[in-house]
């Protein structure tokens, strides 16, 4: 310990070293391998060789443009729905929850301790053709006589919305909970209606949570393939389905690796556009 005393400024690096080395070795280096693989050509049987095959990227965009667009579209709609559903709930817990706040939050988190796949399978049961939801919707005429929910884009988006709900609800809740209620009272004392006080005071103050929630929901949602696989049909498959099958079934590694990077680039682009729209100062808090 005498050594540490003499080299105080070394301590943080010693604390960081094991964890950061681990992340370097198993997060950063693999991304490098993925990048390398994405520029290879050849096939699984004859082997792959590194040839700066930028064509892989071109092919990925060209051949799977529909999948990319669908992924971003589904993720964006699900993110918006999650925001609309979770905001009033988070608001209610933050301002009306009283001393039960933490217990109520638990109700939001608890469902997500049922394994992801089992949760999604449960939605498959709920939305099934013989199920109650479809029958009611058919009876009231929203769905046609042989209308279905399963194997439609509605089911996929609904599944994504549900599965990423807490990623939206929790950050929104945290930012609402931190609001000093006196600010809202002040607005009302100054003759703002309750609605106006919400629009001018509460909503802007909760934006950091909204922004964080949006990113935490959108990013994993865009790469998801489980909902499309279990609740959708091949017509609803997202880019995650393609990457997954190219890696694990077709062993077309270079194409799948290139697609992974195109997906990341597309997500980054969307995030940048979004950051532009809401203002970067809100992104960084």
């Amino acid at each position: 310990m005498g050594f540490l005393h003499r080299h105080q400024n070394l301590t943080p690096y010693l604390l960081l070293a094991p964890g950061l080395l681990y992340l370097g070795l198993f997060f950063v280096v693999p991304l490098g391998f993925l990048a390398y693989q994405s520029l290879e050509s050849g096939s699984f049987d004859v082997g792959y060789a590194f040839t700066w095959a930028w064509g892989n990227y071109w092919d990925a965009i060209q051949n799977y443009r529909g999948h990319f667009i669908r992924s971003l579209e589904y993720a964006a709609i699900a993110t918006l729905l999650a925001l609309l559903f979770s905001y009033p709930l988070a608001y209610w817990i933050a301002f009306r929850g009283g001393r039960w706040k933490n217990l109520l939050l638990l109700f939001i988190v608890a469902p997500f301790f049922v394994t992801y796949l089992i949760r999604t399978l449960a939605w498959e049961t709920i939305l099934a053709d013989q199920g109650l939801v479809v029958r009611v919707l058919r009876d009231v005429g929203i769905l046609g006589h042989d209308g279905r929910l399963l194997a439609t884009s509605t089911a996929v988006v609904a599944g994504i919305t549900y599965n990423f709900f807490p990623f939206m609800a929790l950050p929104v809740y945290v930012s609402l909970e931190q609001i000093d209620e006196r600010l809202i009272e002040a607005a009302q004392d100054l003759y703002a209606s309750r609605w106006k006080a919400f629009i001018r005071v509460t909503l802007p103050l909760s934006l950091p949570g909204v922004v964080a929630g949006t990113l935490l929901t959108f990013i994993p949602a865009a790469g998801d393939f489980i909902n499309a696989q279990l609740l959708g049909s091949p017509k609803n498959h997202m880019i995650g389905n393609v990457i997954q099958s190219k890696f694990l079934e077709l062993t077309d590694y270079p194409a799948a690796a290139a697609m992974s990077f195109v997906l990341m680039a597309a997500i980054l682009l969307m995030v940048a556009v979004y950051a532009r729209a809401v203002g970067t100062e809100k992104l960084t808090g």
Binding site: M1, G19, L89, W92, N102, L248, L263
Partner: protein, 286 residues
């Protein structure tokens, strides 16, 4: 003759309008209740269908109540070994990731040093990378070093520790920020060296944060499908078992395990919340 139906109608109408008034005043509360119903609906289905005795292969329609799935929870070949593997991986991964993550959190909260921004970025990036990319990139790494590593237990463990570290850092960091450093200084002033101070003062104080990180990592690890799917090789964890079973019709035993994991998590969380509430109340009275 007409007086009777009117008299009958009157209170009913006012009951309706009273209900409408109630709904109007409590729109948000009503909404919150509906939202909780929405969140709990699939869970109710999972629990209910763990008591189903399906006629065919598919556990999708209700065919009658039975305890058998719970009594014979491992009556499906492969389920028990998948569960054992999942628990082993989750225990080891949460221990390793929390140890590594706690050290990083300590460094980030306690010290000003060069490379702090880069460290924060490196912690944040895995959290904001789609799982499929995490899984795919690790797979390409392992494929390129197949002579040094075989797919199976070790590759699953490596992957789980990797995606758990950032969660551990974030959890411990959040609790460390309110930490009173004077307590450590006092211990040092009283002649304790750094190791003794850490063991006797720091560790007990941050123990709740470490426990929270352990539990979170355990929960994330035991639930992970995507990254594991890419890197498991021939081994089968519980989520992989569900995936395989779903293609041919998942047996109700899958619901039994799902319900059990859910109940264990909920009990742990409720106990934690109640403890917190009691601590807050006793802190308020003293």
């Amino acid at each position: 003759m007409t007086a009777v139906p009117i008299a009958e109608r009157m209170p009913r109408e006012s009951a309706v309008s009273r209900m409408w008034l109630f709904v109007k005043r409590h729109v948000l509360t009503v909404y919150a209740i509906l939202a909780f119903v929405y969140l709990m609906l699939p869970i109710a289905v999972v629990i209910a269908f763990s008591f189903n005795s399906p006629k065919g292969r598919f556990n999708y329609t209700w065919d009658g109540f039975t305890w058998n799935n719970w009594k014979n929870w491992d009556g499906v070949p492969g389920l028990r070994s998948a569960m054992v593997l999942s628990i082993e991986i989750a225990l080891l991964a949460s221990l390793i990731a929390t140890a590594l993550g706690t050290l990083i959190a300590l460094a980030l909260v306690r010290y000003r040093f060069r490379g702090r921004g880069a460290t924060n970025l490196l912690i944040f990036l895995p959290l904001s990378t789609p799982e499929i990319v995490l899984g795919a990139s690790l797979l390409t790494l392992f494929l390129n070093v197949t002579s040094a590593i075989t797919f199976g237990f070790s590759t699953i463990l490596i992957a789980h520790v990797m995606f758990c570290i950032s969660f551990a850092v974030v959890t411990v960091k959040a609790r460390l920020i309110g930490f009173d450093r004077h307590l450590e200084e006092a211990a040092m002033d009283l002649g304790a060296n750094e190791w003794v101070t850490f063991r006797k003062v720091t560790l007990p104080l941050i123990a709740p944060a470490i426990l929270a990180a352990l539990l979170l990592c355990f929960a994330i690890s035991i639930d992970d499908f995507v990254v594991t799917y890419f890197n498991a090789g021939p081994r089968i964890t519980f989520p992989l078992f569900v995936w395989g079973a779903a293609r041919v019709g998942a047996p109700p035993q899958v619901n039994v395990i799902g319900t059990t994991i859910f109940l264990v998590a909920v009990v742990a969380m409720v106990v934690n919340v109640l403890f917190q509430m009691r601590r807050e109340r006793s802190a308020a009275t003293t």
